[in-house]
């Protein structure tokens, strides 16, 4: 005959095993949810609250290799520098969408835009943007023209633009488009005109 205290001890142990299993299952679910949040470093959407404004985004289309001016209404802050960042994030949101006409690598973001008087804008993109960007002369120049044209068309007074990656200068975006020099906004404006036609 099995002693009573043994029954009691086995029951307690079984209950403990059951409790630990439930706790482990719960922790697994939380860990999973946490890792998804870590991996998804896509830019945060602009704040939905506040007044929206009409802006022009210059959107690249890879299939025909053109840049199209596209009107959009987005909420914009009043501070000029924050407006610049929100403008480019709105553009990136199009490129990071599933049906993107000019896909950018997952996690691409504009870290900051610095507006330095007189007439200099510095766009600081993150490493994911540059490291995973598709290589090719046209592909890279569409990205550069799209960023600069969108910024300068909506924020007048910018004469030259510098693009940094993680706060540092880089030779090229992905092997072709030059990032070592300052972009002349007037020259990029002409390029954008060329890129709006397929000829």
């Amino acid at each position: 005959m099995i002693p009573r205290h043994l029954y009691f001890a086995v029951s307690v142990l079984l209950l403990a095993v059951l409790g630990m299993s439930i706790y482990a299952w719960h922790m697994r679910g939380r860990a999973k949810a946490g890792s998804v949040t870590t991996l998804d470093s896509r830019p945060v959407a602009p704040p939905v609250a506040g007044a929206t404004e009409q802006v022009t985004l210059f959107v690249a289309y890879d299939d025909i290799g053109v840049l199209h001016a596209q009107s959009a209404r987005i909420p914009l802050p009043s501070v000029r520098q924050e407006r610049a960042e929100e403008l480019l994030r709105a553009l990136l949101a199009i490129y990071l969408d599933k049906s993107s006409p000019h896909p950018l690598p997952a996690g691409s973001d504009v870290r900051s835009v610095y507006l330095v008087d007189p007439g200099l804008a510095v766009i600081d993109i993150n490493a994911a943007f540059a490291d995973g960007h598709r290589s090719g002369v046209l592909s890279e120049e569409l990205t550069v023209a799209s960023l600069i044209q969108t910024l300068t068309a909506n924020l007048p007074g910018i004469l030259k633009v510098k693009i940094l990656v993680e706060g540092k200068e880089r030779q090229t975006l992905a092997g072709h488009a030059d990032l070592s020099n300052f972009y002349d906004v007037a020259a990029v404006n002409q390029l954008a005109t060329q890129l709006q036609s397929t000829q």
Binding site: G136, V137, L138, V144, Q171, H176, N181, D184, L191
Partner: protein, 480 residues
């Protein structure tokens, strides 16, 4: 026959002297020349001995790393540990693998320990050294030369525009070769300089006096051998970056003599055949410079799993050179091998050859047909001063000609029913080139990417580009 005592002594002496002489002969002449590895780095240029073990070349790892940083090594039975600037390498005698900073490293051969010295196969240095140094190391195994980091010195050679009997060599860094002459040749040996092979190992010149030069590498040194029909003298520029090979004074005087009656009868046939170009008839040595973009570790776009942009551009460059030369246009291909040339060096070469047109070649998987680019100049607050041009906007004056060239090529491509677009682009080094400069980006004709590597498609494009250059040749030739 019996030898006297004195005779015996003489015979023994003779044998002894003969034996010693024979031994000395073998020691002097039969011993193989000691092989060494020449190492070039920003920290120091030096050489380390190469030893042969089990039919393979080996070098001591400690001796190799010693001039580059703080290094110490310790041997314990079959294990050998090396510390280089806080990086630990763990090696085991007889093993093909080692561990560097806890990660596996392939040695391509067995590791050896001899008298406490750790020996690694020479062929393993390409993959092993970056683990210690944190940067690239390029081994030239045939010549036993090791380049650590981007220290390579590139060069161009062209005959002087005003005198076809003078060869001018431009180097990207000061050089100090030893120079030797022999009948028909002038040999420059670069044992202290990390000279890199030009696009083609054999360079040909439009000169009867100096028809060609060849680049070779052997036992830790690079050599440039210039073929010549006249005796040449080498002179160095003060900065050591330019070497000019010119006829000796006697030859120059003979060449300068215009009256046939005054020509010395003893002049050699070679000297008689030396062309003397009058400045009025001087033409450019290379009319076109073709730059196959990317190369080496820079693969460009991965067009497919097996096709890299750098391979397509070099194949296309060779075809285009052929097409241009078939049309009488002397052409230099800047990259005719898998070399990694910096953007600045590409522009430097293009500018120092004084070519009339620079054509950069690219390939892309997106879109169809061909896209032609001229420079989109960067913003600069500087202005050119006198004869000096700002490096970033050196293309400024040539932009109208570059656009005319792109339009001419576009017209020829359209004739061949190839889809073409002409755009400006922030694509270096177009903005650094002083001559007319265009970039040609070739995309597949349809959805099939493999067409990019197809000989027929490349031939079609190369032919049209060459026709476009020929069509604008007169205008390009008149360029400043």
């Amino acid at each position: 026959m019996r030898l006297t005592r004195h005779g015996k002594r003489r015979a023994v002496k003779g044998l002894l002297v003969g034996g010693i002489s024979l031994l000395a002969f073998f020691l002097v002449f039969a011993a193989p020349a000691e092989k060494h590895l020449s190492v070039y780095s920003t920290a120091a240029n030096y050489s380390v001995p190469v030893v042969q073990r089990q039919g393979h070349d080996y070098v001591g790892l400690l001796e190799l790393l010693d001039p580059l940083g703080t290094v110490s090594a310790k041997a314990e039975a079959s294990r050998w540990r090396i510390h280089y600037n806080h990086i630990l390498g763990d090696f085991t005698a007889g093993k093909n693998h080692a561990r560097v900073q806890g990660r596996d490293a392939d040695l391509t051969g067995k590791f050896l320990i001899e008298n406490g010295r750790g020996l690694v196969p020479l062929s393993s240095l390409n993959s092993l050294l970056p683990r210690f140094l944190g940067g690239p190391a390029t081994l030239h195994p045939e010549s036993a030369r090791l380049l650590i980091g981007s220290v390579g010195t590139h060069f161009t050679a062209s005959v002087a525009p005003d005198d076809a009997s003078r060869l001018v060599l431009h180097f990207t860094a000061p050089v100090n070769p030893t120079i030797a002459t022999e009948p028909g040749k002038l040999r420059m040996t670069f044992s202290r300089d990390p000279l890199i092979a030009p696009a083609s190992p054999t360079l040909t010149f439009d000169s009867k006096a100096i028809p060609s030069a060849t680049f070779s590498e052997n036992n830790g040194a690079a050599e440039v051998t210039v073929s010549t029909t006249i005796p040449l003298l080498a002179s160095f520029s003060p900065d050591g970056r330019t070497i000019t090979l010119a006829p000796t004074k006697t030859q120059a005087a003979a060449a300068a003599t215009t009256s046939p009656a005054a020509t010395p009868p003893q002049t050699t046939p070679a000297a008689q055949s030396t062309p003397v170009n009058s400045p009025a008839t001087v033409t450019r040595r290379y009319f076109a410079v073709i730059d196959a973009s990317h190369g080496g570790s820079d693969r460009g776009e991965a067009l497919s799993n097996t096709l890299a942009e750098k391979d397509v551009t070099v194949a296309f460059a060779r075809r285009l050179r052929q097409e241009l030369e078939n049309r009488g246009i002397s052409t230099l291909v800047l990259r005719d091998s898998d070399a990694n040339i910096s953007l600045d060096d590409r522009a430097y070469f293009a500018n120092t050859t004084h070519a009339a047109v620079y054509i950069a070649l690219h390939a892309a998987s997106n879109g169809h047909g061909v896209r032609l680019y001229t420079a989109l100049l960067p913003y600069t607050g500087q202005e050119d001063r006198g004869p000096f041009h700002a490096w970033t906007t050196a293309q400024q004056l040539a932009i109208p000609l570059s656009q005319a060239t792109a339009n001419s090529v576009a017209a020829e491509l359209t004739k061949q029913q190839v889809r073409v677009r002409v755009l400006t682009s922030p694509l270096r080094p177009l903005n650094n080139v002083t001559a007319a400069a265009i970039a040609v980006e070739v995309a597949p004709p349809a959805m099939d990417l493999s067409q990019l590597g197809s000989a027929d498609y490349q031939q079609l494009i190369a032919g049209a580009v060459a026709n476009g250059i020929v069509a604008i040749r007169a205008q390009l030739g008149a360029a400043p």
